[in-house]
């Protein structure tokens, strides 16, 4: 299980932030984020997702359950990754925080992502779709 933690903060005013990557199976990569996902942390998210894609994972889950808020920069990272996915790959987002959901809604991107309240639902989604397509 590959685990990376990013506690170095380019902007000290934002609190702690962490990224935990896990691979429940050989096709699935889960990136769990914690803290505040903003301009300073968006690159960490980007590289975690890009690494997963490059490593050949087709089923990606971004777990935002423990993210307190997210800004437009992080959103643009998700949009970029979502658009660059190969055929057959699938991205799902786990999110219950209303602040974060509001960002998705406000930006009109809630229709672009498959957003689920729980990790299990998200995993079922990415696996189900991947199985069907693949």
């Amino acid at each position: 299980m590959l685990t990376t933690a990013d506690t170095s903060s380019p902007e000290p005013f934002t609190g702690a932030f962490g990224i935990i990557q896990s691979q429940p199976d050989e096709r699935t990569s889960v990136v769990a984020l914690e803290g505040e996902l903003d301009l300073g942390r968006a690159p960490s998210l980007k590289w975690a997702l890009v690494d997963s894609v490059d490593a050949g994972y087709k089923q990606l889950v971004v777990d935002l359950t423990r993210v307190r808020f997210m800004d437009s920069t992080a959103l643009s990272v998700l949009v970029g990754v979502n658009r660059s996915l190969d055929v057959g790959a699938r991205l799902a987002i786990v999110c219950v925080n209303t602040n974060v959901l509001k960002i998705f809604e406000l930006s009109g991107m809630d229709g672009a992502f498959a957003i689920f309240p729980t990790l299990d639902e998200a995993l079922a989604h990415v696996r189900g779709h991947t199985a069907r397509i693949g």
Binding site: P10, E11, F13, T14, G15, D38, L39, G40, F69, D71, S72, T73, S76, V79, G80, R83, N99, K102, E105, L106, S107, G108, M109, D110, G111, A112
Partner: protein, 703 residues
């Protein structure tokens, strides 16, 4: 770049300057050292019979050396150096301004001194005595007289023009009518000289006017009839017209020298040495030169009765300078050598540092200039992206403001406020993803594209939709959130459409009759917002019409405002409404952003705001119309239903609308949902015509 090329050249120039300065400083100190060294000698010379012949120095060392040679060669007759006027020339021709030139006797008298012709008045004078000019004149004439009257073979006196207080005077006395009994006269003169030579500063100085002059005065006495005074002088005097370097050296005859013995030779050596040392001196060098001494000894060859010593300072500079040089010489004279070296080193260091600081000063000025130009350019670019609209467009007061981010997020925000036909007013506020320099081209592209469609007459939704399909390729991966709005002053409606951008804050300011109405923001539905331009999805799918019957404020902003941090949280739209309420009606966008900046702890993104103030009328703003383009995904995901419920429809009514929409979407890719919100329950219609044209909104609304 030229400036880069210049840099080394400048450095070289500066270092050269420093080097020259150091050299000059060292010269000055070195010169100061010589006279003192010489000053010590006269004491010896008086006690011993030594001819403490002090060196003769001339800038034109050649001539001086010749004079010295003449001394040392016993058999040498009169010597006149090449540039000197021929011996036969009448003395008048060589007259200086003050001094009178001395010419040797026309014939080749054995032992006769060669006359020295000087251009300008050359003077020998003691430093601490004055006035040199008159005296010099007199003395010289005296000397000349003495010279002419001197018997051949007896003595030689070479006097250079100028003022001579000692040498010339002594010679004059000596020779005055004393061709026959020179011994006594000489001794007398010699005594006088020796008396004077003991005086503290027995330095003779030459220099008059701007001419370079050198005097080499040397006198030797050997035997009763041996007095040799050699005074060589060279003068470069454009004024006097005797040529740039008219030199005449008077060489004493030589008989004397044989008797001078060792001392003479020593003196000669000394003199030569000095001459050699100073010979390279060019006329441009400001130099103080020690001068030959007259060291007559008594006629019988006994003790030297006197040693006249003269240090002649040579200067080529203006008349004012000798005073300066004199002062410096005096000061330097009392400073011990190690201290002098130390001072020289310090001076050199100071000069080097001064040069350095000047260099860095020049560089700093250049950098400041370049920075100013850059800032100017950036300012111009920014002004192009962030225009300053007139304070009032028709009945609406407008203000805009922009505040760059604290951190690296600067760039990307843009806004525009401009008038359309029919008195309408258009507003564009947007934010391009990515920041800084990379975002700038896209920022300009999006802003002007959207503006063009609005000016062409498209409704905000259609303008964004068209711009979205056009810009999708050009944005190359990055995307832009934009809100476009048109305010219609006659109808008092605001029509806006958003592409992934926060909706405006619409704040009713109460009835204008009340004056102080409670500021209240209307809640705008964010469900089913259209995605940003460039996100790879169809945008311009929603449009909202708000009626503004009474005084109100319409605040368009970027997400930098709502995403500013306050106590670890986002500032948010609610706090923004609060800030607007606190600021009051007259507040400008600038005041708003300042207020937000004051309240928040950190602002990681740019903040831009555009504030419209609608006046007069009565009533609170309200949403009157919603237009939503639905696709199957929106219906399937439940977003459409959420939107309908948020818009005030009952669950049953919403479900009915969704069913209709599904049926419609079975036939085509999209369905247009029109929601009319009035006093009663919302009225929903599904439109089939989704063709974009300039009057799309009006046509749909009329149905």
């Amino acid at each position: 770049m030229a400036s880069h090329a210049n840099r080394p050249a400048r450095g070289a120039r500066a270092s050269r300057r420093v080097a020259v300065a150091i050299a000059a400083g060292c010269c000055l100190l070195g010169l100061g050292a010589l006279p003192t060294a010489q000053a010590a000698k006269p004491a010896n010379s008086t006690s011993s019979s030594a001819v403490s012949g002090e060196a003769t120095v001339a800038p034109h060392g050649k001539h001086a050396e010749r004079a010295v040679q003449a001394e040392s060669v016993p058999a040498a007759p009169a010597i006149a150096p090449a540039p000197a006027p021929p011996p036969g020339e009448p003395p008048a021709a060589a007259h200086g301004r003050h001094g009178r030139a001395i010419q040797p006797a026309p014939g080749p008298p054995p032992g006769a001194g060669a006359g020295a012709g000087t251009g300008p008045g050359l003077g020998l004078r003691r430093l601490d005595r004055e006035p040199p000019l008159a005296r010099g004149h007199r003395h010289q004439e005296g000397a000349a007289r003495g010279e002419t009257s001197s018997a051949p073979g007896s003595q030689a006196a070479a006097v250079s023009a100028g003022e001579s207080r000692q040498g010339a005077e002594a010679l004059a006395r000596k020779h005055k009518g004393k061709g026959k009994e020179r011994g006594g006269g000489k001794e007398k003169g010699g005594k006088e000289k020796s008396k004077e030579s003991v005086s503290p500063t027995p330095v003779l100085k030459i220099g008059k006017g701007k001419e370079a002059s050198t005097v080499a005065l040397s006198q030797e006495t050997a035997g009763p009839s041996a007095t040799a005074a050699s005074l060589s002088s060279s003068a470069a005097s454009p004024v006097a017209g005797t040529g740039p370097a008219s030199i005449t050296s008077v060489a004493p005859v030589a008989k004397a020298i044989a008797a001078a013995g060792v001392h003479t030779q020593r003196a000669t050596r000394n003199a030569r040495h000095r001459v050699a040392a100073h010979a390279p001196g060019s006329p441009t060098t400001v130099a103080t030169a020690p001068v030959a001494l007259l060291a007559p000894s008594s006629g019988s060859g006994a003790k030297a009765s006197a040693a006249a010593r003269a240090a002649v300072k040579h200067t080529q500079t203006s008349a004012a300078q000798p005073a300066l040089v004199k002062t410096i010489t005096r000061i330097v004279g009392v400073v011990p050598v190690p201290v002098r070296i130390l001072i020289a080193a310090l001076v050199a260091l100071a000069l080097a540092l001064a040069g350095r600081s000047r260099l860095s000063g020049v560089r700093a000025r250049r950098l400041a200039r370049q920075r100013g130009q850059l800032l100017e350019d950036v300012g111009l670019l920014q002004a192009a992206l962030l225009p300053v609209p007139p304070a009032r467009l028709g009945p609406v007061a407008t203000s805009v403001a922009y505040r760059p981010a604290d951190g690296p997020g600067a760039g990307g925000d843009f806004y525009d406020v401009f008038a359309l036909d029919d008195g309408r007013l258009a507003v564009i506020v947007g934010d391009v993803s990515g920041h800084g320099r990379e975002a700038l081209p896209h920022t300009a592209l999006v802003r002007f594209t959207v503006r063009a469609y609005l000016e062409a007459g498209l409704a905000p939704r259609n303008a964004l939709q068209t711009a979205g399909s056009v810009l999708e390729r050009q944005l190359a991966g990055s995307f832009a959130t934009v809100v476009a709005a048109i305010y219609h002053p006659r109808e008092r409606t605001l029509t806006y459409a958003s592409a992934g951008h926060p909706p405006p804050v619409v704040l009713g300011d109460g009835d204008s009759a009340d004056g102080e109405g409670s500021a209240e923001a209307i809640e705008l539905t964010t469900a089913c917002s259209a995605p940003p331009i460039g996100a790879g999805m169809r945008t311009g799918t929603r449009e909202t019409v708000i009626s503004v019957p009474g005084p109100a404020r319409l605040c368009f902003h970027t997400d930098g405002v709502t995403e500013a941090r306050i106590e670890g949280d986002l500032f948010g739209a609610e706090r923004l409404v609060g800030a607007l309420g606190d600021l009051g009606r007259e507040a400008t966008a600038r005041a708003l952003l300042d207020s937000v900046a004051e309240r928040t702890d950190a602002r990681p993104d740019d903040m831009a705001a555009c504030l419209l103030r609608v006046e007069n009328g009565a009533g609170s703003p309200a949403i009157v119309h919603e237009l939503l383009e639905l696709d199957r995904a929106a219906v399937a995901s439940g977003r459409a239903e959420r939107f309908l419920r948020k818009s005030g429809m009952t669950a049953v009514a919403a479900a009915g609308v969704i069913d209709s929409a599904r049926a419609e979407l079975d036939l085509r890719d999209s369905a247009l949902l029109e929601l009319s919100l009035g006093d009663g329950p919302p009225h929903v219609e599904l439109a089939h015509d989704n063709v974009i044209h300039a009057a799309a909104l009006t046509a749909v609304g009329a149905r």
